[in-house]
């Protein structure tokens, strides 16, 4: 069997690369998704998240590297892994002229391991789980994007799964819907299912994730548990004062280089360099009036932006 890796990992990649021509859409990534984690896969649109997911599911061929899914080698043993994996890939997709229920029946018929005798029961359970029982008989072309998104999640839940791969599951959902999906993911995770969830918006998933990887231009630029990634060595110092010049001098005397904008002084200092009370005392001794003072660790969001860049040009 595909035991090239530690069974601790639900998803394990080593140097996974997917290139289109000379362009590496996914460039030597080493993903380590521990079993039982809620793993947030972050990155701006176009950073290679969906291509990675396609490679994990053997929808796209791997250019180089190794992939294992639940301990099975991909693509060789993908047929053994997939029955235990539910996935939402690049948005939901359905037959618009079939009802929600008939769409799920269709996909369940394609599952060569699915038991036909329990099919209708499992379909109805999955629909109930995402709150679509009422709309089950409606044709999908009459569904809102949010309903399609939920039907896509229901499709991933047709069987008991060990791993759920959810690509942008909150796309198109209103805040209420986003909350519902988050709660659903929490409850699935509490059943021991590993959840791999991609998003371009950190705020959507940071509350529920235990682990994160950040992708930018085909590469993983950060990966680890949320605590590891939140622990920052850098603190942002912000002082509001009416005497910037003397403030800068005062800070210089304790080794802090600050810059002034209007009446605000800013500096980035290592967290163990100077205690905040020392900074305040030095400023007070030099009679620099302090109107405001903060010394903060950057938020995960700020770190995310600093890793991936900001604006439209981040992914070419």
């Amino acid at each position: 069997m595909g035991s090239l890796v530690d069974p601790e990992y639900a998803i394990y990649t080593q140097g996974l690369t997917k290139s289109f021509g000379s362009h590496n859409a996914v460039d030597h990534i080493d993903l380590r998704v521990p079993k039982g984690s809620i793993f947030g896969f972050l990155g701006p649109n176009g950073s290679g998240k969906t291509t990675t997911i396609r490679a994990l599911l053997a929808l796209a061929n791997i250019s180089s590297g190794e992939v294992s899914l639940l301990g099975y080698k991909v693509p060789e043993e993908i047929g053994l892994a997939l029955p235990k994996v539910g996935a939402l890939v690049e948005g939901p997709a359905f037959y618009p002229y079939l009802s929600g229920r008939d769409n799920l029946i269709r996909f369940d018929c394609a599952d060569r391991y699915a038991d036909p005798s329990t099919r209708l029961e499992r379909v109805d359970q999955a629909l109930a789980r995402v709150g679509l029982s009422q709309a089950a008989s409606k044709k999908v072309h009459a569904y809102s994007l949010g309903m399609k998104q939920r039907l896509g999640i229901a499709n991933a839940l047709l069987q008991p799964r060990e791993l759920l791969i959810l690509d942008e599951p909150t796309n198109g959902l209103d805040p209420q819907g986003t909350r519902e999906v988050r709660n659903l993911i929490r409850s699935l995770a509490s059943e021991g299912i590993t959840i791999f969830i991609s998003s371009h918006l950190l705020v959507e998933i940071e509350q529920i994730c235990t682990h994160l990887a950040v992708m930018s231009m085909g590469k993983i630029v950060a990966q680890g548990s949320v605590e590891e990634l939140s622990t920052s060595e850098i603190r942002e110092l912000t002082i509001t004062t009416n005497d910037c010049e003397r403030g800068i001098q005062a800070l210089k005397s304790i080794g802090i280089t600050a810059t002034a904008t209007g009446d605000v002084l800013k500096a980035r200092i290592p967290h163990d360099q100077v205690a905040p009370e020392v900074i305040v005392r030095v400023l007070t001794e030099l009679n620099v009036g302090i109107k405001g003072f903060t010394l903060l660790a950057p938020t995960l969001e700020e770190r995310f932006v600093s890793l991936t860049g900001e604006g439209f040009d981040v992914a070419r």
């Binding site: 396609r54 890939v89 018929c109 060569r112």
Partner: protein
């Protein structure tokens, strides 16, 4: 155990394929249009009143007003060159490309369904449509023929006269013959469908293949390749209307169509099983 369940799954996928195909409005629109061919033909003959002199118009047309059972044969001859290939091209061209364009292909594959099995089931679906198309045409032809014209024992091409049940058997065999004729085209459509995510492109290309085959079949300079053309036996079902029945062209046609299925089925297989699904 897994093998046994896998077999069960295969049956349900085929049933599911049929149910998806025959719940599409487009499929019913095409079948309805097909049924209009014998209806229009019969009405036109009935309204024109005067009997055609033998040998004018499409084969059998002169006999329609004397025996309603000929409506189906005549309509079939009219539908074979363009209309049937067109509808089969739509269904076969849509098989993989249609699923790819809506994105449902990726969800079928991760369900998971084996790619080779999906391809096979898609081909069976196209074949099922071919059966539906030819039988729709024939059955509508019989019904409208019975309504508008006298019906009696049928005079065959060999001059023999056969009873009505015998004639119905021949009609049934002609529908089977034409269905077989369309299987090679279905395989070509399936292959083209694995090359693109734009179903309309695959449909058009499949219809073009059938047209080109028929055009090449009319060029005497290319006589040496004629027996290998997809459409070579398409109109050859006249042999079924002789006594004794000659099943020779039925067998040759089946063999030719099987070769096309083998070649384009293999091409579709090698293409589809190695393809990146990026839609």
């Amino acid at each position: 155990m897994l093998r046994g369940r896998s077999f069960v799954g295969s049956g349900s996928l085929f049933i599911s394929e049929l149910s998806v195909l025959f719940r599409r409005r487009r499929t019913w629109a095409m079948l309805s249009t097909i049924s209009l061919i014998p209806i229009f033909l019969a009405i036109a003959v009935a309204l024109s009143g005067s009997a055609l002199p033998p040998g004018e118009g499409p084969p059998f047309l002169d006999r329609v007003s004397q025996n309603g059972l000929f409506v189906g044969f005549t309509a079939m001859i009219m539908a074979i060159p363009l209309f049937l290939p067109l509808t089969v091209g739509v269904v076969a061209g849509d098989t993989i490309a249609g699923e790819a364009s809506t994105g449902t292909l990726r969800y079928l594959l991760i369900a998971p369904v084996n790619r080779a099995k999906l391809l096979f089931v898609k081909f069976l679906g196209a074949a099922a449509f071919s059966i539906a198309a030819t039988f729709t045409l024939m059955i509508t032809g019989i019904i409208i023929g019975v309504i508008l014209f006298p019906v009696g024992p049928v005079t065959l091409l060999s001059g023999d006269v056969v009873s009505i049940p015998q004639a119905l058997l021949r009609i049934f065999l002609v529908a089977i013959y034409v269905t077989i004729s369309l299987l090679g085209l279905s395989a070509i459509g399936l292959f083209i469908s694995t090359l693109t995510v734009i179903p309309v492109g695959a449909m058009a290309a499949t219809v073009v293949v059938s047209t080109v085959s028929q055009i090449l079949g009319t060029l005497p300079q290319l006589e040496s390749i004629h027996p290998y053309l997809l459409s070579y036996y398409w109109l050859g079902f006249a042999d079924l209307l002789r006594n004794p029945m000659d099943l020779g062209s039925m067998a040759s046609n089946a063999l030719l169509q099987l070769s096309y299925i083998a070649i384009f089925g293999s091409l579709a297989y090698s293409r589809f099983t190695s393809k990146d699904i990026l839609s």
